[in-house]
């Protein structure tokens, strides 16, 4: 059977159209479709990020800087970012003196890393707040000890009395040995990432804040005693 080319001429246009559609779809649209699918997914992600950022910005703009600064200062005084041994010692000494107690001895244990790697305190997962121990020996009456314990537990920095052992020999004033746990909390590691969402302060946390706000802050009062280190003026008699 002989095919007449003249007969096929009317089918040239449809064939050309189908060929064009196939070529454009395969080599232009298909690769472009993949790119567009990815950019659509990216756009959805970017929109979510933008929505989160807008929300965060609105929250941040709504926060009062002065108020937060004051609150954070109080929280940092109660829970210092690192082991603040001088401050703990000063508070123990001040509270003891205010209650008429004599401080016989203070032994600090588990301070370890302070001089070497204090900037990177490793906090165990099961521990809520890292701490170190202070063994304190005091001389004074039961009433004074009672007041001392209650005041030390409501003073900044945060301390907790763990063991109390009071003993008295016949005529002497009672001697009390106690174990005090002093707490601190290193700064969070992810501080101020723009994408990180702000978690609002809950009502429970507000209650805790009002509790620590009532703590006694002894900073600025008497700190460690000045011990004589020799003559300041060598020409004085």
């Amino acid at each position: 059977m002989k095919i007449n080319l003249k007969d096929l001429k009317p089918f040239l246009l449809p064939a050309l159209v189908i060929f064009l559609i196939l070529v454009v779809t395969a080599f232009v649209l298909k690769p472009r479709l993949e790119v567009m699918t990815k950019s659509r997914q990216q756009l959805t992600k970017d929109r979510k990020i933008l929505a989160d950022l807008t929300k965060k910005l609105a929250t941040l703009e709504g926060l009062a800087k002065v108020e937060f600064s004051e609150k954070t200062d109080i929280a940092l005084a109660v829970l210092p970012a690192e082991k603040d041994v001088p401050s703990n010692l000063a508070v123990i000494k001040n509270v003891a003196l205010n209650n008429g107690l004599i401080v016989n001895n203070i032994t600090i244990s588990e301070v370890g890393e302070i001089a070497t790697i204090s900037s990177e305190v490793k906090v165990r997962k099961d521990v809520i707040l890292p701490s170190f121990k202070l063994d304190v020996s005091l001389t004074g009456g039961l009433e004074m000890i009672k007041n001392f314990i209650s005041q030390i537990q409501s003073a900044a920095p945060l301390m907790e009395v763990k063991n109390v052992s009071l003993s008295q020999k016949k005529t002497e004033s009672p001697e009390t040995k106690m174990e005090i746990e002093a707490y601190f909390l290193p700064f969070p590691k992810t501080l101020g990432k723009p994408e990180q969402q702000l978690i609002a302060i809950t009502s429970g946390e507000e209650k805790i804040f009002s509790r620590i706000n009532d703590f006694t802050f002894l900073r600025g009062q008497q700190t460690l005693p000045n011990l004589p280190v020799g003559k300041e003026n060598l020409f004085s008699p």
């Binding site: 009317p10 246009l13 449809p14 159209v17 189908i18 064009l20 559609i21 454009v24 649209l29 472009r32 479709l33 790119v35 567009m36 950019s39 659509r40 990216q42 756009l43 970017d46 929109r47 990020i49 933008l50 950022l53 965060k56 910005l57 941040l60 937060f68 600064s69 609150k71 954070t72 929280a75 940092l76 829970l79 809520i128 707040l129 039961l142 009433e143 009672k146 314990i149 209650s150 907790e160 009395v161 063991n163 109390v164 052992s165 009071l166 003993s167 008295q168 009672p174 909390l185 969070p188 501080l191 101020g192 723009p194 702000l198 302060i201 809950t202 946390e205 805790i208 509790r211 620590i212």
Partner: protein
Amino acid sequence: MRQEIDFLKGARGEREKRLKFLRMVKTFSILLLLAYCLVVAAFFSYGFYLTTASKQIVRETALKKNKIEALKEIETLQIVLKQRLSNLVKFFDSQKTSDFPALLDYFSKTTQGISVRELSLSPDGKIKFSGEAAEMTALGQSLENLTGEEATQFFSSVVLSNLDKKEGGGYLFTILLEAKV
């Protein structure tokens, strides 16, 4: 009556059908091409929209990030405060230690006429109380106070573990108590 006979009628009909079919094919091809062009145009328009929207979002994101950066100080304050308060909530919630001041207060009130030799309190609530009483009545009164109705809010168990009479008079005793935590 005269009747015309068209001998080409069949062939003409075939030709017309074929021409009609070819015209339809041509029209359909053009319509298909037009429809495809529309699809391609819509496709590229959507692509253009995606690019523009993406650029716009990137610009806005950068702007918001800059604004957040400017407020970094207050954000840092909020994060530090939140971290401390949330840990304090957990800390105070997990605290299960005896109320030492209240216990000491109770001991100082209820042990009149007794000289305390040793009083040790531990966070798990175990208390060891050793003392000396000049008279049995004073010791009896103290024991009564420590086992009375008011004492039940402080202690879950009170045991007199040791009682010795001194040669020169007076009594030495040791009481073991379990405070409620």
